[in-house]
């Protein structure tokens, strides 16, 4: 299986704080790689570092064997990495349609077909097509953010805590959508909800205090009570 993304001993400083102190993991094509860890472990910063929003100060990040450590965010996105931030990043004054349009880098047939696909995946977006992004519910914003990341033939999508603050029934829908999107793209997922993470993840990376402490197949972690207890506080 082809390796899409590699993080090798990545360090990130934000101001005077040394947030990431050695993050290592690989994301493979066609898989969902889940980043797990306690609050403040550095999962969100890892995604931001990949996107170039909080640039790495040491180590290397490679996408399809090409280093993107020093690439500006817009170039990282253009290489084919979509990003769904924790706060969804919806442009509140733009309608759903405008949010989608602003994300489209091309308006060719393939992009319009992908738009059709995400509208079938998230029918609510079609229903509220002319509604301002700021007036959508939390779940609808999450769906719009995911749809936007998917619209440009992204080979890899980074999704940060998609279940955060959502009702269980909406979480279920979001999870189904991620499973569906997995058929067309690869995903790096940050998720606190271990039940959700274990159901959709293929591999995992455990991050603690800004460092990778363990990686492997999700099936192995599900049965490793010691690891779950030590780093996730489960069990």
């Amino acid at each position: 299986m082809t390796t899409l993304l590699t993080l090798n001993e990545v360090h990130t400083h934000i101001g005077q704080y040394h947030i990431l102190q050695g993050v290592n993991f690989e994301a493979k094509e066609g898989q969902v790689t889940v980043l797990l860890g306690r609050n403040g472990a550095g999962k969100t910063t890892t995604l931001k570092t990949i996107m170039g929003l909080t640039p790495a100060t040491k180590g290397d990040i490679a996408f399809r064997s090409q280093s993107i450590k020093k690439s500006p965010t817009y170039k990282v996105a253009k290489l084919g990495i979509g990003y769904v931030p924790e706060n969804q990043g919806i442009f509140a004054d733009l309608t759903v349609e405008e949010n989608m349009k602003v994300a489209m880098r091309k308006e060719d047939t393939a992009t319009l077909e992908r738009q059709q696909y995400v509208l079938e995946l998230f029918p609510d977006l079609k229903k509220f097509w002319k509604k301002a992004g700021g007036h959508l519910s939390g779940g609808q914003k999450q769906m719009l953010s995911m749809a936007r990341a998917f619209i440009n033939d992204s080979q890899l999508i980074l999704i940060d805590e998609p279940s955060k603050g959502l009702a269980p029934i909406v979480v279920e829908k979001v999870m189904e959508a991620i499973v569906e999107m997995k058929k067309k793209t690869s995903i790096v997922l940050v998720e606190q909800n271990f039940i959700m993470a274990s159901r959709i993840g293929d591999t995992y990376t455990l991050i603690d205090d800004g460092r990778t402490v363990n990686s492997g197949n999700m099936q192995d972690l599900i049965y490793d009570e010691e690891l779950k207890c030590k780093y996730l506080g489960i069990g």
């Binding site: 965010t73 817009y74 349009k101 602003v102």
Partner: protein
């Protein structure tokens, strides 16, 4: 009735000139989070470059083009060499752009001379129309029309074109716009150039309206521009238009009915807005990363 119409036309014309100045300011402020106190310098350079081009070519239209080009070029240089090193630092922005404002103002005296320059309205825009008892000064109507036309063009661009969507998205969340593949720094540069060109156009149009141009006029009008941006809401183009009209009309009516308050009325309006709606009347919503 005629008095009312005349006061409204006066107020609208002044409002439109302030709007053109404030429109650039609000875009620069809203999108780039840059406090550009040199905006008045771009305004006065537009006035001088435009009027001298007008005098040389005897064409008011060529003068307007000259002002716009001068403003855009100065905007390009300002963004590249002055603003870029101080992105994200408001204190440094205030200091460096205030310094630039003074440099631009003094350069006017070096290049065009220290004395004010009298400006004549082009013959086809001079004079007035009399409709019953109402006297409509042609140039004021011209400014109102230009103001609405420019508002219309920008509204169309902002609401109906992809570049407009990108600017509106960037105003709301720069990080997310970049994460969608938008080269926001380049957008910043273009917006800065457009803002500077609008300031220069405003200066050029102000010249025949006030009848004289002088180096210090930039700072005087820039303050009005900032008041309008605060009242209208940062980043809101429509807000700037409505606030500019409000400021223009308030100034016009106060100057006639309560002259003693005419200079203070803008500050009073701004204070009221800051007390009851500090984000401005039409501020755009911003969603930030937690």
């Amino acid at each position: 009735m005629e008095l009312l119409v005349n006061l409204i036309i006066n107020g609208l014309a002044t409002g439109m000139l302030i709007f053109l100045l404030a429109a650039g300011l609000t875009l620069i402020f809203g999108l780039m989070d840059v406090l550009n106190f040199a905006h008045g310098g771009l305004f006065v350079w537009g006035a001088y470059a435009g009027i001298f081009t007008y005098m040389l070519t005897e064409s008011f239209i060529v003068g307007i083009i000259g002002a716009i080009v001068t403003g855009a070029l100065l905007g390009l240089l300002t963004e590249k060499f002055i603003i870029t090193p101080v992105y994200g630092n408001h204190i440094q922005q205030i200091l460096i752009t205030l310094g630039l404002m003074l440099v631009l103002q003094e350069l006017i005296k070096v290049v065009f001379g220290p004395n004010g320059v009298a400006v004549k309205t082009p013959s086809y825009l001079a004079g007035s129309w009399e409709i019953g008892d109402v006297i409509i000064i042609k140039y004021r109507l011209f400014i109102i029309v230009i103001g609405f036309v420019i508002f219309g063009i920008f509204q169309y661009m902002l609401k109906r074109t992809k570049i407009g969507l990108i600017v509106r998205a960037g105003v709301q969340d720069k990080e997310m716009a970049q994460a969608l593949g938008i080269h926001i720094k380049r957008v910043f540069l273009y917006v800065f150039m457009v803002g500077a060109a609008l300031a220069a156009l405003s200066g050029m149009l102000m010249a025949p309206y006030s009848g004289v141009i002088y180096a210090e006029m930039g700072m005087e009008y820039a303050i009005l521009g900032f008041i309008v941006v605060v009242i209208g809401g940062m980043g809101s183009f429509s807000g700037s238009l409505l606030a500019a009209i409000l400021v223009g009309l308030a100034g016009s009516f106060m100057a006639y009915y309560v002259p003693v308050l005419s200079l203070a009325v803008n500050m009073i309006l701004m204070a009221i807005v800051l007390i009851f709606r500090p984000q401005g009347l039409f501020a755009m919503r911003k969603e930030r990363t937690s």
